[in-house]
């Protein structure tokens, strides 16, 4: 489709009061290609029109993003980000802060920045904002002072934004200028701008509280190359701190981070096999004939891709196979080709059959108990990709380029798995999912549920939440969609705030069974309000639903209730698109309905009551 056709299609849908349809047309257009410099402002304008219409003619959620700029203008950043977010189906309104106006906006409580009421703040900076000349500082002390002063200002800014708005902040790390005045000596001399920037980035990373996410344009610029990234001409003509033609790369990085912040992060990579993980077709060439490993450039390229995939797995991304193959035949490559770095155990789900791939992806999602929107599907075959895109638009489909040596870079550049912090649970996740699958098989063999549950030998450790749990709690708040009774999505600052309240009980449950240590899998927040305990939030990882950890958790809460003289426990259920699994949680646990709308539930505590039956032990 051409831009002019898109423009008239969008206008048509907007005239029919259908901004959602208009948006899906724009998404389709943007999926074909990134905005070019020529089309950017047109596309931006279209998305603005759709957003305006969506405000009045739909119930779509419109985000509010404020962009505060250092020595740069943010108009192009905003246009590009707006288009990239639209491609993800996200509409946003923007506030554009003035040139070099960060402190002015933030420290003036009456500024337009606050009137705008953003739900997300972006602080856009570059090396030009560092208070040091190109030649750097004369002494180590002055250099250290410069770093210290900047960090101090940032802390004050973050604190202020946080206190006034309580919203998450995204801030750039600093990129580097393309110069090295005296070459290697710049590394030798602590006061050089180069060293000041590196030091400052480290300090910013260390000082950033959990509500501040850092956008690593330092790494992005290194990937692109400093001479390309820095364009003095574009800076002097537009005051954009990097070359215009990298706007798409920048916006993609931003979008990846934003996606994580609004809990749309991807966590599972579903892979094709033939001509994806190895060269050739195992069904035709045999396991000994496919190309993987040294011996040919193609084999080496596939090996490099498999190693990249393996590294993702190490970082906590779940792997799955979706291939048109006989499982026996395909397995041989993993079993008998020593060059293959991936093992069958690296995959949490393996689906090899001759069914259609969208159906198989549904199967994988069900088997792993994850949402389709957390899945990335990778295939070399354009028609398979098109089929999956068409059938499952929620899945992010990656069509691999022609040459296997480009696979890893291509996937990496999409920034699908970006995250701010790793938690211990990330590293154990694959083991845990595999354990789940083994456990399922055992269940099929065991025949009855009680035997199965008791064979799991589950143990849970419960503690009151503390600072050491914060990262995992934030992650669970972001990611838990199904077993989430109220979906309040507490941010890290809010969690810290609640933990300081004397009447809050925030319990954190770890679970270990005979197959795996699942780590922290559940959190339960209850407030004591006179003689009641009100369950305000209750999350559980989908890996461990329906194993009577629910009953165990409630027993622990009953223990607290009895020791503090509480008479009843109140449960609350707030329906969302995704939390159907807990719709009947409270009645199943013996709560009585209060009112007819399924929202409030009550559990009376009597002295003679026995704990609920559970297969989880202390």
């Amino acid at each position: 489709m051409k831009l002019s056709e898109l423009t008239s299609t969008v206008s048509k849908h907007l005239a029919k009061q259908a901004p959602d349809v208009a948006l899906s047309e724009i998404r389709e257009f943007l999926r074909q290609s990134d905005p070019t410099l020529a089309s950017l402002s047109r596309l931006n304008e279209l998305v603005v029109r759709v957003t305006e219409k969506a405000k009045t003619a739909s119930e779509m959620n419109i985000r509010r993003i404020a962009v505060l700029s250092g020595n740069q203008t943010s108009v192009f950043l905003i246009q590009s980000i707006r288009c990239h977010l639209a491609r993800e189906g996200i509409l946003a309104e923007f506030f554009e802060g003035g040139y070099n106006g960060i402190s002015l906006e933030v420290f003036d409580p009456t500024s337009q920045f606050y009137t705008f009421k953003p739900d997300q703040v972006l602080i856009a900076l570059s090396w030009r904002d560092i208070n040091a000349p190109l030649a750097g500082k004369d002494s180590d002390e002055e250099a250290a002072q410069t770093v210290y002063d900047h960090v101090k200002t940032f802390r004050a800014l973050w604190r202020r934004i946080h206190d006034h708005l309580g919203v998450p902040v995204i801030q750039h790390l600093f990129d580097h200028p393309p110069f090295a005045l005296l070459g290697t000596a710049e590394r030798n001399f602590p006061g050089s701008l180069r060293n000041i920037i590196d030091h400052l980035n480290q300090e910013v990373v260390k000082s950033a509280p959990a509500y501040v996410s850092l956008l690593d344009i330092d790494f992005l610029s290194a990937q692109i190359g400093l001479r390309n990234w820095n364009s003095e001409k574009d800076y002097v003509t537009t005051k954009l701190p990097f070359a215009l033609r990298y706007l798409n790369d920048y916006a993609q990085l931003f979008t990846a981070m934003y996606r994580e912040l609004i809990a749309k992060q991807r966590k599972c990579l579903v892979l094709d096999l033939d001509n994806t993980l190895w060269g050739g077709v195992v069904g035709d060439d045999g396991y000994e004939g496919v190309e993987i490993g040294p011996g040919s450039p193609k084999g080496e390229a596939h090996l490099a891709f498999c190693e990249y995939v393996k590294a993702l797995k190490t970082r906590g991304i779940i792997l799955a196979i979706n291939s048109k193959n006989e499982v026996e035949v395909a397995s041989r490559v993993f079993k008998y080709r020593e060059e293959m770095p991936l093992q069958l155990e690296d995959f949490s789900a393996i689906v090899c059959n001759w069914q259609d791939k969208p159906g198989n992806i549904r199967l994988i999602a069900k088997e792993l108990n994850i949402g389709l929107n957390s899945i990335v599907f990778v295939d070399d075959n354009p028609s398979e990709c098109e089929f999956v895109r068409h059938e499952l638009p929620e899945v992010f489909t990656v069509e691999l380029p022609d040459e296997p040596s480009k696979f890893a870079n291509h996937l990496d550049q999409l920034r699908l798995f970006d995250t701010q912090k790793l938690t211990a649970s990330d590293k154990n996740r694959t083991a845990s999912y595999q354990a789940l699958n083994r456990a399922k098989e055992d269940m099929e063999n065991a025949g009855n549920l009680e035997d199965f549950l008791s064979s799991l030998e589950m143990k849970s450790f419960v503690t009151q939440a503390g600072p050491e749990h914060l990262d995992r709690m934030v992650q669970m708040e972001l990611r838990t969609n199904q077993f989430n009774v109220t979906t309040r999505r507490y941010r890290s600052d809010q969690i810290e705030e609640i933990l300081r309240q004397a009447n809050a009980y925030w319990l954190v449950f770890k679970l270990i069974d005979r197959y795996a240590d699942h780590g922290v899998v559940s959190t339960l927040l209850a407030f004591q309000e006179e003689d009641t305990l009100r369950i305000d939030s209750w999350l559980m990882s989908c890996r461990v639903f329906s194993r009577t950890l629910e009953q165990y958790s409630l027993n622990r809460l009953l223990g607290i209730a009895q020791s503090t003289g509480v008479r009843k426990i109140i449960g609350e259920y707030v329906e969302t698109e995704r939390n159907m699994p807990v719709e009947n949680l409270y009645p199943k646990l013996g709560f009585q309905p209060q009112g007819s709308d399924k929202r409030w539930w009550e559990f009376e505590i009597s002295e003679s009551m026995k704990p609920l039956e559970t297969f989880v032990q202390k």
């Binding site: 831009l3 070019t36 410099l37 020529a38 402002s41 304008e45 001409k233 003509t237 215009l244 033609r245």
Partner: protein, 75 residues
């Protein structure tokens, strides 16, 4: 429509019949300082050419832009 004119119309949100040789930012509503920079940068990208800082400023009419692109790109 020529490739140059198509890009001009896209960036400046105008119609082909507005593209008179003498037309400047004064005659075309969508032509402001911002779209001016985008237009010239888009032409650089599309035709793999480069304008100097002076040319960025001086290419301020449709005629000059067409001519400058033609000379630099050989089209």
């Amino acid at each position: 429509m020529s490739e140059i004119d198509e890009i001009i119309c896209t960036v400046l949100s105008c119609e082909e019949n507005e593209l008179l040789e003498s037309a400047t930012a004064d005659n075309i509503a969508g032509w402001d300082s911002l779209t001016h920079v985008i237009l010239l940068s888009a032409l650089e990208e599309e035709f793999s050419i480069s304008f100097s800082e002076d040319e960025m400023v001086n290419n301020n009419s449709i005629g000059k832009i067409r001519q400058s692109v033609a000379v630099k790109s050989g089209k």
